[in-house]
Amino acid sequence: MNRITIAVLMLLIAGIICGCEFYTVSNSVIQYTADLDTIKNLSERGDFDKANEMTDDLLKNWIKTTRRLDKYLYHDYIDEITLHMSALPVCTENQDSSAVKTHVEEIKIQLTSLKESELPYLHNIL
């Protein structure tokens, strides 16, 4: 195959991988942020049964998502979020709404930073 075709093909592959990464990260962040907000609202309203059910589901889904995210992102970043997320079911079981709120906020910040760090802003490039 012509070398220029190979070069263009490689750039395309790199572009597709970057696109897939951004799509996966961005979608996951939006979805999990919405779920976390719901959990926070439920615990603030005192509906801990529903909140507990949701945190269990959230954790299960997150474990599945990590398998996809680990292909693109540093595993340490993902593990840190997993650690905070695994603390949520205990907080909802203990009906500790302030702890839920703290963990939710921490996870949201980490998720946002995960997404933001992938955007080609000058501060990220530098």
Binding site: I6, A7, Y72
Partner: protein, 223 residues
Amino acid sequence: MLILIIRTVLLYLFVIMAVRIMGKRQLSEMQTTELVITLIIADIASIPMQNTAQPLLTGVIPILILISAEIIISIIMMKSSKIRNLVCGKPEVLINDGNLCQNTLRSLRMTTEDLCVQLRQLGVYNVNDVQFCIIEPNGKLSVQLKPEKRSPNCEQLQVAVQDTGIEAVVISDGEFLKNSMKLCNVDKKWITDILKGEGLTKDDVMIMTANRLKEYSIIKKVK
């Protein structure tokens, strides 16, 4: 550990493929930019190889981009001499018609000692013997000696020399080398006949060379 082994094998194959795609030019006549790219590729590949917490793709993507950039730049350089001069630099004359160009030496931050070292490596021990000396973009010197210092060639001496073509290795360690056989216009049958005449088989031969005039030499294997 198993992950390290798998990653190392994958990256090894990937880097080999990368260097092959960059082409033979990359290996033989390495320009400064090409040397830098080769070093960067080696460095990038080694990081995800050692650190399993880092996705393999963080090593693969930069290498893909570097190879593509290198291929595209080399193609652009082939088409445009301006870009070629910008990226690789251009040859500079250090000795012009027997005169040392001191300003050029100074601008290249090259001392006369550096020049003499490089000349000696080319077999020239006296700067006064040099008519022209050019430093090429890859840093190597090209030298033309003064006419009275050049060795006369067969044409100048009016000596007729037979064209033997290339002396190629046709058997290496008991194996026929097809490409070399093509180069010196011989075939397996001719070689086998020669070996029969010498009372040998191909497995007895360490090296056999031949040329277009069907002249050959054989070095037997030591058993």
